[in-house]
Symmetry: C2
Subunit: 465 residues, 2 copies
C-alpha cells in the first residue's frame, strides 16, 4: 500500500480525471475549494497534514457513496472518510492525492422504534442532534464523547467512542446492532441485525466498530436507543489533597458495589489550570466528581459520600440539577483551560481500574523527569485517563513524544492499553506493535486486505508504522 | 477446503502417524478409545455424525494446545475444538479423520479481581462452577445458557451464548474483555484487554466470539465478573388465553420502561406438554413468567402485574425466593417434557421484540400447514424464540426441515435472524446465505482463511453449505 503519491494510477487516470469522474457522478457535491481542502488537513489532535487532499466529496445518498468508491477503485485513488473532524488521533486527516468522503450531508434519523428500543441513522448525524430527536420518544443514545455537541455518530462508530457514561452505559460497540457498509469497490453490504441477539456468522458489525475508516464506509447504522432513566440525579464534588487519594476513593466507590453514571477525576495540575481559568480560590489538590442516576440515586450518593469523607475527601452532595450542572462546569472547563496555553496533545490511555492510582503516580514521575506539566483528567469508573501535553509550535517536539512514549509503556506495563476511546489514527501507529505484537499486527493487516485489497481506504493510518 | 477424507496429507503423513505424533507430544492426554471417539460424534442438537473421529486429545496446558495445532498443521489434519458437547447446532460434532481437541482438562479459574470486576479463566471451566467460585467474592458471570450446569465458558465464547438474562445483563460478547488464542499453526496471540475500554486496532476479541471454532482455539479468557445484584427478587407467573396475548403483554412491559431480569414466554402447545409432564391441571393457554431483581424489584413487579392484569392475564406475584423457584420449575420442565416425545430439533430464531406476536402467529400457521406441533418457548425480553420440532428416528425428516425452512424465512422477513444464541454449526449452513448474502458470505470465508489458511479448523462447519 502506498499513499497517493503514486499517481497516475494503474488505470492510467490522472488526478484531473478523478475529479472530473466525481463531478460527472455527484455534481455539486464535489468541491476543490481551498477552504474545504484545507479544513481536511487537520482534526482536533493538533496534527496538521503537510499537504491538502485532491478533492472533498459530500455524498447525499448511499448510491452516491457507492459511486465515489467505484471511481476510487477504478482510479486507485485513496479515500479518507470524514465526519465532523473532531478526532484526536489524526484518523480523518487527509493528504495529497486523496479523496475526502464527508458524511456530513447524510445526517438523517431514518427511523425510531420505541418498542424495539432502536434508531436507524445516517452516519453524519451529530450526537447531540440524535439525542434531541430521540428525547420526545423518551429514548437516548448512550455513547457520549466530550465532543457530542459537534461530533457524528459515524465518528463514534469509526473510533468505538466512549465518553463519561461508559462504565454504566457502555461504549459504542455495545450500542450498535447493525451497519450498512459500502466496501472499497462500491458494493453495499448489511452487517448485524435489528435484533438484540444474533450469532449468524462472524461478527462483522463489531469488526467495523473502531476500524477507523480502514475497512469500509458506514452509510447507515441501527443503534440501540435506551429508555431515558427516570428520576433525579445526585452529584458529589469532592476535594482531595492528592490525586492518588482521589483515585483511591473512586476505586473504593466501585468496589463497594455502587454504580455511578459518571465518575470524573481531575488531577492536581489540571485542577490548578481550571482554577486559574475560572478564577476560583483553589487551595490545591485533586477533585472527584461523581453522579448517580435512576431510582437509587439518593441512597447510592449518600453511601458514596460517606466513603469519600472516610478517606479524607472534603465533599458536597447536591440532588439539585442546576447545582449538579455547576459542579460539572469545573470538569467541562478543563479543555478550554489547557487550550489557551498552547498546542495540546490529548492522550488517552486506559488501565485496569485498580491501577488508576499507580498510573497517576507514573504520570507524576514523568512530569518530574521531563520537567513538564501533564494536566490529566480521567473517567475513573473505567480507568481511562486523558493526560494532556502542552507545547509550542505546530509539531509535537521530541521531548514531548519521549514523555508520551514513557507514559504509553507505563500504561501497557500496568495491564492497560494505548487508547481507550480515541483510536490509533496517525499519531499512535508507532506504538501499535508494542501492544499487539508483530504476529497480531500482521493478521490485522491481512484482514484489512480482505476488505480493501487495493489499500485505498485510509492508507497510512492505524496499521502502517 | 475439504474434510478429512483427503488423507494422506500433503506432507505424506498417514493417520497412524498423526496419532503417534500426538502421543509423543501429549502422552496419555491422547485417546482412541471407542467410547471417547463415539461421544464426539454428537452434541445436543439431535444430529449424529455418520463416522467417528480419528482421536480425542485433552490438553492440560496452552503449550499442549500449541503442540496439537502444530501437529495438525504439519499433517494437514482437521481439528474440532469441543467443550462439554452441549451445542445445539452441531458445531462441535466430529467425523472421520478429525482430531477432537477437548478443552475439559483446562478448567481452572486462574484469577479473580474484585476491584477490576474481572476473572481470568481457562476455556473448559463449567459455567455453574465458575459462578460457584465467584460467589464468595460477591461476583458472578452473567451469560447463563440453559445448559449452564454442564456447559463450558469456552462453549459460550464459541457461540456467543445468551440465556435467560440477556435483555438486562447482555450476551457473552458483552462479558468478554480479552482472549488468548492459539492459531491454526500453533502460534499464541493475545486479543483484547483487561481494561473496560480499548480501541487498539481491529476488535479481534469480538471477531472470535461466536466464530464456532473456525478461527482459533481459545486457551484463556478474561471475562467480566459483575457484582451480585443485592436484594430480593420478585416473580410473576401469568396465564393468557393465547400466546399472542402473552407476547403482547411482554411487549407492553418492556415498552413501559420496566427492565425485567428474566421474561420467559411459554407457547400454547409447549404449556400443554409441560402440564402433561408435571401432571398439572391446565385449562389451556400460554404462560408468561417475569422476574425482577435489584432495589426496584418490588415496585417494578407491581407495575408489571398491573399491565398483565389489564391485558387479561391471570397472574400471581411472589417476592418469596422459594415460591419464585417453584414458578420457574414450569419453564425448566419444558425440555424434559418434550425430550420424552422423541428426537428434538431445538431451533433458535430471534426477531425484533415488537415482532414477537407476529412470529408466534407465523409458527401457528406452519403448525397447521404441516399438521405438526411446534412447542415454543421464548426469551421475550430479547425476541429470541426456541421452536422445538419433534420427530422419530435419528435423522430429521424432510417435512420437518421444510417446516423449519418456512420458519427461518418468516423470521428473516420479520427483520430477524436465523440464530439468536446457538450458532450455525452444521445444521443451519444451508440458510446462512439467505441471511448474509453471497458477497458477505465470501468475505467471511476470506477472513476465515486469514486465520486458518489450510482450512483445518472445524472444516465443513458454518461457512460451507
Amino acid at each position: 500500500m502506498s499513499t497517493a503519491a503514486s499517481f497516475p494510477s494503474a488505470s492510467g487516470t490522472d488526478e484531473r480525471d478523478v475529479v472530473a469522474l466525481l463531478r460527472d457522478a455527484l455534481g455539486d457535491a464535489v468541491s476543490t475549494d481551498d477552504s474545504a481542502l484545507s479544513a481536511a488537513r487537520e482534526d482536533k489532535s493538533g496534527h496538521v497534514s503537510p499537504s491538502a487532499p485532491l478533492v472533498v466529496v459530500t455524498p447525499r445518498t448511499t448510491a452516491d457513496v457507492q459511486a465515489v468508491m467505484r471511481i476510487a477503485t477504478q482510479t486507485r485513488t485513496p479515500v479518507v472518510v470524514r465526519g465532523a473532524g473532531t478526532g484526536l488521533a489524526g484518523g480523518a486527516i487527509a493528504s495529497e492525492g486523496e479523496i475526502v468522503l464527508s458524511t456530513l450531508a447524510m445526517d438523517q434519523l431514518l427511523e425510531v422504534s420505541r418498542d424495539d428500543e432502536l434508531a436507524v441513522v445516517q452516519p453524519g448525524i451529530i450526537n447531540a442532534e440524535l439525542n434531541a430527536q430521540l428525547a420526545p420518544h423518551g429514548l437516548w443514545f448512550a455513547p457520549d464523547p466530550a465532543s457530542r455537541a459537534i461530533s457524528t455518530v459515524g465518528g463514534n462508530i469509526a473510533t468505538n467512542a466512549g465518553g463519561l457514561l461508559c462504565a454504566k452505559y457502555g461504549v459504542t460497540r455495545e450500542a450498535v446492532l447493525g451497519l450498512k457498509v459500502v466496501l472499497a469497490d462500491g458494493r453495499l453490504l448489511e452487517f448485524g441485525h435489528r435484533t438484540v441477539k444474533g450469532v449468524t456468522g462472524l461478527d462483522f458489525t463489531a469488526l467495523m466498530i473502531g476500524s477507523e475508516g480502514t475497512l469500509g464506509v458506514v452509510v447507515e447504522a441501527t443503534v440501540r436507543a435506551k429508555r431515558i432513566t427516570p428520576g433525579p440525579v445526585a452529584t458529589i464534588s469532592a476535594s482531595f489533597e492528592s490525586v492518588e487519594d482521589a483515585a483511591r476513593a473512586s476505586a473504593v466507590i466501585t468496589a463497594s458495589g455502587l454504580a455511578p453514571a459518571i465518575m470524573e477525576l481531575i488531577g492536581e495540575s489540571a485542577m490548578r489550570r481550571i482554577a486559574d481559568y475560572l478564577e476560583l480560590d483553589h487551595p490545591g489538590g485533586s477533585q472527584l466528581i461523581v453522579q448517580f442516576d435512576g431510582p437509587g440515586a439518593v441512597v447510592e450518593s449518600e453511601a458514596a459520600l460517606a466513603s469519600i469523607q472516610s478517606l479524607g475527601g472534603v465533599a458536597t452532595l447536591s440532588p439539585d440539577p442546576a447545582e449538579s450542572e455547576r459542579l460539572f462546569q469545573v470538569r467541562r472547563s478543563f479543555h478550554p483551560s489547557i487550550a489557551r496555553l498552547g498546542h495540546v496533545l490529548i492522550e488517552d490511555v486506559c488501565v485496569p481500574r485498580s491501577a488508576l492510582p499507580a498510573m497517576f503516580s507514573a504520570i507524576g514521575e514523568i512530569e518530574r523527569k521531563y520537567g513538564i506539566e501533564i494536566p490529566t483528567v480521567a473517567h475513573a469508573g473505567d480507568g481511562n485517563l486523558h493526560p494532556n501535553f502542552v507545547f509550542d509550535g505546530d509539531d509535537v517536539p521530541d521531548h514531548i513524544w519521549a514523555a508520551a512514549d514513557e507514559m504509553f509503556l507505563s500504561a501497557l506495563r500496568l495491564g492497560g492499553t494505548l487508547t481507550g476511546e480515541h483510536g490509533i489514527g496517525l499519531l499512535k501507529r508507532r506504538w501499535l506493535k508494542d501492544e499487539l505484537g508483530d504476529d497480531q499486527l500482521e493478521l490485522q493487516r491481512q484482514v484489512k486486505r480482505v476488505f480493501d485489497p487495493l489499500g485505498i481506504l485510509n492508507p497510512g493510518k492505524v496499521f502502517e508504522a
